[in-house]
């Protein structure tokens, strides 16, 4: 595809190329540089010069090479066939690239994002004469066994049109003309494919309030620091604290309909792990393979830096597209720091004036723009859909005061801070209960209280209070040792220890423990607090702490995350009864 020539290369400095003799080109236009057809994007216009960032290695490009314009912005191809695929940062399908260029990624290959050959079963939902407007569904395609793909009129079609003709139910390629619409004299032909510029949010009718949590199956998140469906959260943590593991767990078990997983500047082997593992994992809610709801974007750290910058936008555009069909979409960005560093690197090459730590001054704006694309929306098609963003942050030196973490904190409402000390003791997920917070508690508490006979909010507050007390007591213990504390205070330490090892820790590799249902979480929280209450009563009767500790039911509580499966939550009720019996018995011995 050779477009018109818009200028010649003037200077090459890594992925940033200056072109001169510009005839006509617009900001953010997609261009191809040189005879190798390297893909790039116009990021600056200055008189007869323009600056282009290229998405592939620039080796071999020389001054004087022609630059070709394409007339459109860098866009995503949106059509049936996205789910289950793996793309690079500019939405080139990696499986296809492998067929074309082998095990190593060659330069200058372009190919369509979804297969233009595959047939999809098209079911029209409109008939001739029906009124349509931008964003409306006109047909459906069963994309995977769990995703019904709605084919929508592109949102850039303005005003009310009417259907002139629509294809009958049948198997078609995505590029076939399936719909003709008309308005007065004008007429448009549509296929199942639409293109949307990645840096522009897809339009919606209205933003709605957030009212239910995105259930992840991770206890520390769901029960202590819940994320709302349509909300935003940041997971900051130094290397080795488990950001990627947490992201993987959420991608596997959260109750979203569609997962978009962006590996942005991370390790190649991690993406391979997801690719190999996900098809074999079964969603606990639908019993279908997890790959049937997942779209992967892999721009590993050694792939070109400008494509890394684009990968975040490619991912969110795809997420918004599925949101517009009425799905709840969760997007994992691992890691947004690499994206910010890509901005820094490109900005440095363009010789822009830096702000903090070499990052460009517009860093905060870009982060805000990205997180604002999340939300619970009323779509143009009058259905409700949501996009939740879970962004990992890799602070330099593990120091949360660096610019990316700080700016991200301003624009997210939930914060899961990972703690190095917990990770070193192999307490996973290493989410610190002291640094983390969630501003969504108010929004989701009524949902949770419904599920827990009204106990959740109270339980959560009590547990947070105990953990805070424990922190203070620990400081005393560090100075004088645990023996100096009275039993009642030692009991707080004991309960918090149980809470940490039986509730907050979760083993991602254990068949039972890796996913914890809402009901089980509620029951576990109840029994631990019941233990605290009963134990306190017993202590008042004069029972020594050591005796309480040795009860066999206490041992069962510690192991319940492994022994009680999600389908047999009643076992915890039985355990509570057993605990009560043993406590009463023990109390009876000292009651005189």
């Amino acid at each position: 595809m050779q477009g018109r020539i818009i200028g010649q290369v003037k200077r090459v400095n890594g992925p940033v190329i200056t072109i001169k003799g510009i005839t006509d080109c617009s900001m953010m236009e997609l261009v191809h540089v040189g005879e190798g057809q390297i893909v790039g994007e116009v990021v600056k216009l200055d008189g007869e010069c323009a600056t282009v960032q290229v998405y592939e290695d620039a080796t071999g490009i020389a001054p004087g090479d022609n630059v070709y314009g394409s007339g459109r912005s860098l866009s995503c191809e949106l059509a049936p066939g996205l789910v289950g695929n793996i793309y690079d940062g500019i939405q080139r399908p990696l499986e296809k690239l492998r067929e074309l260029s082998g095990d190593f990624i060659a330069k200058g290959i372009s190919t369509s994002a979804v297969s233009h050959e595959k047939l999809f079963h098209f079911v029209p939902t409109l008939k001739t004469g029906d009124k349509v407007s931008g964003g409306m569904t006109f047909a459906t395609v069963q994309e995977t066994s769990r995703v019904l793909h709605k084919i929508m009129v592109p949102s850039n079609i303005v005003g009310e049109w009417s259907v002139k003709s629509i294809k009958e139910e049948g198997d078609y390629k995505v590029t076939e003309e399936v719909l003709v619409i008309e308005k007065g004299e004008s007429e448009k032909t549509l296929t199942m494919v639409q293109y949307h510029p990645i840096r522009v949010p897809r339009p919606v009718k209205e933003r709605l309030g957030l009212d239910r949590p995105l259930v992840t199956g991770l206890r520390v998140i769901d029960s202590l620091f819940p994320l709302a469906n349509g909300g935003t959260v940041a997971i900051p943590g130094g290397f080795g604290t488990g950001k990627t593991m947490t992201q993987h767990s959420i991608a596997q078990w959260c109750d979203a309909d569609i997962i978009v997983y962006i590996g942005c500047g991370e390790r190649g082997n991690e993406m391979t792990d997801v690719l190999r593992e996900f098809p074999h994992l079964v969603d606990p809610r639908t019993g279908k393979s997890l790959m049937e709801r997942t779209i992967l974007i892999a721009n590993t750290s050694n792939m070109p830096v400008s494509a890394r910058e684009a990968s975040i936008y490619t991912g969110i555009t795809i997420a918004e597209y599925y949101r517009d069909m009425g799905y709840s979409v969760a997007i994992m960005a691992d890691s947004t720091s690499r994206w910010a560093e890509a901005l820094r690197e490109l900005s440095g090459r363009m010789e822009e004036m830096p702000a903090e730590e070499g990052f460009p001054a517009y860093l905060a704006t870009r982060i805000a723009q990205f997180y604002e694309r999340a939300g619970h929306m009323l779509t143009l098609d009058n259905t409700e859909g949501s996009v939740s963003i879970i962004g990992a942050v890799s602070p330099a030196g593990g120091d949360f005061s660096e610019p990316v973490t700080q700016h991200t904190r301003r624009f997210v409402r939930c914060f899961w801070g990972l703690d190095r000390a917990l990770a070193s003791a192999r307490h996973y997920p290493a989410i610190s209960w002291l640094d983390s917070y969630s501003e969504y508690i108010d929004e989701v508490s009524s949902w949770w209280d419904n599920k827990s006979e009204g106990k959740w909010s109270k339980n959560r507050t009590r547990i947070m209070e105990l953990l805070r007390k424990e922190k203070r007591l620990q400081q005393i213990v560090k100075l004088v040792g645990p023996d100096a504390l009275p039993d009642s205070q030692n009991f707080i330490l004991e309960v918090c220890n149980i809470f940490k090892s039986a509730f907050l820790q979760q083993n991602a590799f254990d068949e039972i423990d890796r996913y914890c249902s809402v009901e089980k979480q509620v029951a576990m929280m109840n029994i631990i607090l019941a233990y605290y209450d009963m134990g306190n009563d017993a202590l008042k009767k004069g029972v020594p702490l050591a005796k309480i500790r040795r009860l066999s039911s206490v041992h069962d509580i510690v192991k319940m995350r492994f022994t009680v499966s999600n389908d047999s939550v009643d076992d915890i009720e039985h355990l509570t009864a057993k605990l009560f019996r043993q406590m009463t018995q023990l109390g009876g011995l000292y009651e005189e």
Partner: protein, 471 residues
């Protein structure tokens, strides 16, 4: 006259033979030249000094006005009027061959041992290309290094990149050499090769490695790329790329299991900073260039396994943390790219413990899929987990003891003190030539844990405790 007009009609292939005389500016390792034909970014340059000697360079920046070339051998002896440059029209490449094994070469792959340059079979771009993530095979084959603390707690996997974070004066070289000597894949015979890249290290350290390879009889399977401390610093920026290009050839074309040792990455990063500063780039943290992460990733990501091919590349980069600071940009960015890290501890080293590895901040990310039943032993995953948890508690107890005195500790905490002592002196500590099998390592770990009461071992299952606990 504008140079692009002058050369507009000339066939590019003819220009490749052209040689230019006279540089405009020489600044450190960089040479600037005006009025050339349009030169491609990243092109290879052959430079002839006034005395006739040849040097190699690469285009760092090109515009229709001037070209900036970095000279790997340094610019000593060049002058402005008589320097000749020949732009070869192709990227910097290495002619790879299996016969490089057993040879000593410089950072560009030229002979350093007096013999003629190795004759290659195929020319490869030293920058390599990214492995398509869909082509990778997830690494899960356990490598037994014979070192307990590594095998037991931060297991090395074939195809992994696991750096050693050390400090000046600690025994990282001994450890790397010991791993190179002892590393083996259990159960299978495999074709092993070692690629060794030295960047800015002293001659005696390179000598130490060569002697160590020689004495264990593996020297014929080692390719050495040496860019020593007195070689031009700029050569260090290309040395690991050359080495990895050969490693890729050996692994993915010849089916060998390749271990790449790169030392010292800190010197490599210093050289990058030097060039960045000379070019007036905007620095980020501590003056290092903003692209340090991407640049390091281009090296570290060249490890792994490819589905359907037999070989693998395992990387063992060594870096000395400036001032033992793990949050310094070099170890920090490295840790974000590599699959874990082995961290040395000044305190352990000071107490004469070898290897002075602190297991708590150390980590192997690929360990989870390479250990356990059928790979090492079924109790390994829980056992290592328990070691981490218990040793982590030892640190708390020691802190407490230093405040309230050891006598005041509870009975259990006394046992923890004893466990900590045994763990450091018996489990971590081993001799330079001590090669422990994984069974020995795991049994030793049980011996250590048996010091503690069995109720304290919450990460282990009851069956495991029943089978192995010796209390």
């Amino acid at each position: 006259m504008k140079s692009d007009k002058l050369f507009a009609d000339v066939d590019k292939s003819l220009l490749a033979g052209r040689e230019y005389v006279g540089a405009d500016r020489i600044d450190g390792p960089l040479v600037y030249m005006r009025n050339t034909h349009p030169v491609g970014y990243g092109e290879l340059v052959e430079i002839t000094a006034p005395d006739g000697s040849r040097k190699t360079g690469q285009v760092l920046d090109t515009s229709d006005d001037a070209v900036c070339v970095q000279v790997f051998e340094g610019t000593d002896g060049l002058n402005l009027p008589d320097t000749r440059m020949h732009f070869l029209g192709e990227p910097l490449s290495l002619s790879v061959t299996e016969s490089m094994l057993g040879r000593v070469m410089n950072g560009l792959g030229r002979s350093r041992d007096g013999a003629t340059d190795p004759r290659g079979e195929e020319s490869r771009d030293v920058n390599g290309s990214a492995i398509n993530p869909t082509s990778r095979e997830y690494p899960r084959d356990f490598i037994q290094t014979g070192i307990s603390v590594i095998d037991g707690m931060t297991t090395l996997i074939q195809g992994q990149k696991l750096p050693i974070f050390s400090g000046n004066g600690m025994s990282h070289n001994q450890l790397a050499a010991q791993i190179a000597r002892q590393a083996k894949v259990r159960g299978g015979k495999s074709d092993f090769a070692i690629v060794f890249a030295a960047m800015g290290v002293k001659y005696d350290i390179a000598k130490y490695f060569i002697d160590s390879f020689e004495s264990s009889g593996v020297l014929d399977n080692v390719a050495l790329f040496l860019s020593l401390a007195d070689d031009p610093s700029i050569e260090r920026t290309i040395t690991p790329r050359t080495a990895l290009t050969l490693a890729e050839h050996l692994a993915f074309d010849k089916g060998k299991q390749v271990l790449v040792i790169m030392t010292d990455m800190t010197n490599y990063c210093e050289s990058l900073r030097e060039i960045g500063t000379l070019r007036g780039e905007i620095p980020s943290r501590k003056g290092y260039p903003g692209y340090l992460y991407s640049n390091l990733a281009e090296l570290y990501e060249r490890s792994g396994k490819i589905a359907g091919r037999f070989g693998s590349i395992t990387q063992l980069p060594i870096l000395t943390m400036p001032n033992d600071d793990i949050s310094h940009p070099i170890p920090d960015l490295t840790g974000y790219i590599t699959e874990g890290q082995i961290v040395f501890d000044r305190d352990l080293s000071g107490r004469g413990i070898y290897p002075p590895i602190n297991p708590l901040p150390s980590l192997s990310r690929l360990m989870k899929d390479g250990i356990g039943e059928g790979m090492t032993r079924d109790d390994h995953p829980h056992l290592s987990n328990q070691l981490f948890a218990s040793f982590s508690h030892v640190k708390d107890v020691r802190n407490l003891a230093s405040v309230i005195g050891e006598e005041e500790l509870t009975e259990v905490d006394h046992l923890y003190m004893k466990f900590g002592e045994f763990f450091e002196q018996k489990f971590i500590t081993q001799r330079y030539d001590e090669d422990r099998s994984i069974e020995e390592t795991l049994d030793l770990a049980w011996e250590a844990l048996s010091i503690l009461p069995s109720e304290e071992l919450q990460r282990l299952t009851e069956e495991e405790i029943l089978d192995h606990y010796k209390g």
